[in-house]
Amino acid sequence: MDDARRRFLKIAGLSVLGLGIKPVTDAVATAGEVEITSSPNALKAKRWAMVVDIKKCLKAKKGCKECVIACNTTHNVPEFDNPKDEVKWIWLTSVKHAFPDQESQYAEGYYKDTLQDLPFVVLCNHCDNPPCVRVCPVQATFRRADGIVMMDYHRCIGCRFCMAACPFGARSLNWRDPRPFIKTPLNREYPTRSRGVVEKCTFCDERLAKGLQPACVAACKDKALVFGDVEDPNSEVRELLRKNPSIRRKPQLGTHPQVYYIL
């Protein structure tokens, strides 16, 4: 159906070439073919992934949340005072909630002293086998070839099946009009969302298209967030995963999260 509709541009191209609209015929001499491409300086990957190096994220204990602010500012993410209406793309939570299956009553030392009270960065895991995509009745959320789990806000019907399916609580519905609650300076280059659609982190697909790193990665001065092509053996993320033991959230569920944590 999409293909059928998008064939319009090609047909339209022909009509511009003189099939119908008279004044346009003057332009025929110079008229060329319509072309749809990705821009030449876009970042490309076989499989985008993120590595969160918690050892470099210790400032979070002192209240650093540059990544969250950068994301909210870039994407006009609203901030509600009341947790009921909350919308979150990237946020800080405790290790207990990020890894609820890892708890140990007698954990001491590094776990207790460093991790226990440390706010942990969590976001959409852009799973390789995403349950949210599996359940969406309209393909409003879908997995791109480069692994990004995208949202089509134009198509979402707000049924929230994806929110029930996501094991990481990464998705938020706009329970009400978000615009009055955007507390960061409005980014006029990026849309807001409307009441009734589900939204989430998209690994900054719009920035990648311009050759930029995701906003949270760019904002972290301690380089605790690293982003790259995990299929490329020479990428920085692969280098980090080679040199450090890493874990992922809830791997037993078989969703294959693509956000890796180095503890």
Partner: protein, 389 residues
């Protein structure tokens, strides 16, 4: 035939006006929800489905129960149900109407509901649920209306209805199976991740729907000229008894697996239900009422003497209905979200607006049901099929 619903006794008219008023109040509140967004309900980021989806799930079961009349009558030639199959089919129509309404009011963008048809997605269970529910609605409208029309004219039913009737039997099973699959296939929701979900749904459906039918039959027997006959009511009561026992057995199977394995992802939800979790116990009283009602129902139904007592049977049926309403309509959906996959607990409390909309849709269901039953009973009265055999 529909014009038969326009005339009636004074109490019938008062009843219709009351229902219209309830629907009207619900509709006005729905307009408010459309204007404000779903934030006007008690649902939240963590508990993202609530009363609406709970009612939907319960009512799919009530709808599926028509098969418990159609199957014995058409497959086993059990003539006693001949008079009341129409009641089952029309109950299915009213229930599915409510189901679809609850889905629509639960959508964040109802104006885009047709995207489900524009972008059909076979890997989504919700897509299939849409297919089977609408299919079931049309099957029952067509079958019920055609048969009633034939009865009125004293003509034999046309040949093409028979295949539709046979189709409606597996179709009834499919609606509740697919609805169970909405829940049973989600990773990270331990409360729902159980293979026995669909059998459990069917078990409880075949108890809740027929128990409601018994109540209707007893009501009509007492206040109208229509008498289903005690044999039919008694057979229905037997069905309710077995279905309720199966339903309780399935639930105990669930409890065994969860409490013997002691896997936190599953057990935490059940703890929340039965004793509360970290000081949150909103559902605990409900759940214990549900259990007590189920036990009372089983106790009353299992003894044939009580089951066949016209005073005791309705009490047992009310117990079955409300016990399963709590289990499907409240506990099942909410507990799936509490605790969340990140093990946080968020309280859910429906708002007055949400309650008014919910009540409005129940009102709509009863309105559809009353109109359809009125038509059916008037036809039966005219053809002389309403008195006792």
């Amino acid at each position: 035939m529909l014009e038969k619903a326009l005339t009636g006794s004074r109490s019938y008219k008062v009843w219709i006006v009351v229902l219209l008023a309830i629907v009207g109040i619900g509709f006005v509140n729905y307009l408010r929800q459309l204007d404000y967004g779903l934030g006007i309900t008690g649902m939240s980021r963590d508990v993202s489905w609530g009363l609406y989806i709970g009612q939907f799930t319960f009512l799919v079961g009530v709808a599926a129960s028509a098969v418990m009349l159609v199957l014995p009558y058409y497959l086993h030639n059990y003539k006693v149900f001949g008079k009341i199959t129409i009641l089952g089919e029309f109950l299915a129509v009213a229930s599915v109407t409510m189901c679809l309404s609850f889905i629509i009011v639960d959508l964040g963008k109802p104006q885009r509901a047709f995207n489900v048809l524009l972008h059909p997605t076979p890997n989504s269970i919700l897509f299939w649920d849409m297919v089977v529910l609408n299919g079931y609605l049309f099957l029952n409208i067509i079958i019920g209306w055609t048969l009633l029309g034939c009865e009125r004219r004293g003509a034999p039913p046309p040949k093409w209805v028979k295949p539709l009737i046979y189709l409606s039997i597996p179709w009834a099973v499919s609606i509740h199976t697919v609805t169970a699959f909405l829940y049973a296939g989600l990773p990270g929701r331990g409360f729902w991740l159980t293979a026995i979900m669909a059998p459990r749904f069917l078990g409880s459906a075949f108890a809740s729907g027929p128990s409601l039918l018994i109540l209707f039959c007893l009501f009509l027997r007492k206040f109208t000229k229509f008498d289903a006959g005690w044999e039919a009511i008694s057979s229905l009561a037997k069905i309710v008894t077995y279905a309720m026992l199966v339903s309780v057995f399935f639930f105990l199977c669930e409890l065994f697996t969860v409490y013997y394995s002691q896997i936190p992802e599953h057990i935490l939800h059940f703890n929340y239900l039965f004793q509360g979790l970290h000081g949150h116990s909103e559902l605990t009283p409900w759940m214990w009422i549900c259990i007590v009602l189920a036990l009372v129902a089983v106790g009353l139904l299992i003894n044939p003497k009580w089951r066949n007592n016209e005073k005791i049977l309705p009490i047992a049926c009310l117990c079955v209905f409300f016990s399963l309403w709590i289990e499907k309509g409240i506990a099942l959906v909410l507990t799936g979200f509490i605790p969340s996959p990140l093990e946080t607990i968020t309280r859910y409390m429906p708002t007055p607006t949400e309650l008014a909309i919910t009540l409005g849709i129940w009102g709509l269901g009863f309105l559809v049901l009353s109109v359809l039953y009125k038509v059916a009973l008037t036809v039966k009265e005219q053809t002389g099929d309403s008195a006792s055999h």
